[in-house]
Symmetry: C2
Subunit: 286 residues, 2 copies
């Protein structure tokens, strides 16, 4: 496990690829926009002209792209990864995508005597740079054990969650919890503002007790000051929440809070705010 093909060099994939190279892996990269690969190419990565070329003759192929349709294209499309898969190879999708798609990739890999893991991450570009991402992994446990050194070069909290799709399901649970927490912080601030409270003092008072959350500490002050620079894009959060809501409905479960918050974010996206950070939910109340 030394040679890795990495597909999708963006805000997340770029620093993750660099961390793999620092850990001694030989990287070949492919990305839709070659310009985004400058840093990894300068650091010694090779360039490939397609996902298939990137995955060919590698021990493992890793993907970190945008939407489920991109994942589908990169694996199942023309010049896709599956055309280049060899027996014993390891496929790791780091994208947050649908559990159903994760299971399809797992099955396609099995047909070729290869292993696939769904391994979505949490921690944002900061965690990607620092190599401190949480990585939630679904698939077969022996494959997880083989993948562990690779994943631990990019993250700190690397956890095996269960069979194929379980990584994605855990990430969905993560996004559902965020939806509740971020809307709670947002409505608390909207309330406090309407009542004329000193908002910084308010957050400092309530942030250390039962109302406290990462969202309050990390995003609360940005909501108050109007700093909407994206740590995590609204448009990506909408994608994730939509998958979570659909997956829940398939099991007969209606997640009312989630669906409500998803509706608010969609209203913001319709106003053209999809490229703002998720803390811009406060704009919904203005």
């Amino acid at each position: 496990m030394k040679k890795i093909g990495f597909i999708g060099i963006g805000v997340m994939g770029g620093p993750m690829a660099l961390n793999l190279m620092r850990a001694g892996y030989e990287l070949t990269v492919y990305s839709r926009t070659k310009a985004k690969c400058e840093a990894v190419l300068a650091a010694g990565a090779r360039w490939a002209d397609s996902p298939a070329a990137c995955a060919a003759r590698q021990d493992a192929a890793l993907t970190m792209v945008g939407y489920p349709r991109d994942v589908e294209q990169v694996y199942f499309g023309a010049d896709g990864i599956l055309e280049a898969v060899q027996p014993g190879m390891l496929l790791i999708d780091l994208t947050t995508t649908s559990p159903e798609l994760a299971k399809r990739i797992f099955a396609a890999a099995k047909e070729r005597d290869a292993d696939a893991l769904d391994a979505p991450v949490s921690g944002g570009d900061t965690g990607a740079k620092a190599g401190t991402l949480a990585i939630m992994v679904g698939g077969e446990e022996p494959a997880f054990e083989r993948a562990k050194p690779i994943l631990e070069a990019m993250g700190k909290n690397v956890v095996y969650e269960g069979p194929a799709g379980s990584g994605q399901h855990t990430k969905m649970a993560n996004q559902i919890a965020i939806a509740g927490a971020v809307s709670g912080v947002c409505e608390a601030i909207a309330y406090g503002r309407a009542q004329g409270l000193d908002l910084e003092r308010m957050l400092a008072t309530i942030g250390s007790g039962a109302a406290g959350s990462w969202q309050m500490t990390g995003n609360g002050p940005k909501m108050v000051s109007g700093d909407f620079a994206p740590g995590f894009y609204i448009k990506h959060f909408i994608k994730d929440m939509a998958i979570a809501s659909e997956e829940a409905k398939k099991t007969g479960l209606s997640l009312e809070m989630l669906d409500g918050v998803l509706g608010m974010y969609r209203a913001l996206e319709e106003l053209g705010l999809g490229d703002l950070g998720t803390q811009a939910l406060i704009r919904y109340y203005e």
Copy 2:
């Protein structure tokens, strides 16, 4: 400021009164159910037969009762505190109640040349016993400074939030943020359960990142194991959220997440579950 009348010796008021006595204050107490006062009477507090008798000839009168109607009765009713108020006296309502009622008590105290503070607390019975409550205070700042030693005998995070009603408004913001966080944890667990995830592992994975919250750490494991013993009663949370929702609407603000979560809790109360702890929201999804 040595002699205090304390009205409302319950799960919260009891340990708070004991902490005041430990700090050297002379306490007189009144409570609807005298049996609940055994511990404080055994510790040396005097008994009074009414709120007025309890507040008479004291430096300060403190109240920690249940609902806004109880606060109203204890201050404005027959044999109420206001009948016994003397110039220079300090009235401190520690109950979570409506900001509007806090302003009425403030005005009534002013008419009698006395000071009133609204000072709702956060931290539950654990915080009350340990003397580590957060206390959010509204009223005039000189009165707050006079009250500070008393409040610091019961709490650690004692903060002046602004004019009369601001303590209650801050507490409302606290409850709004909790509504979001607790529903997020709850829907994440309901989702994970429906998908067959290992829930303890799931919480451990997502609890340390952007989805993390006090609610996830404190209430998540109880939701998973079905431990619904009340740290904070559903019926009291409903009271608080209803006040917050009404206060928001007065300013033209609609808090959709809050109203949604309030509706879920009301459905549970209709099923007779109002005496369970707020983590029993998971029952809504079963």
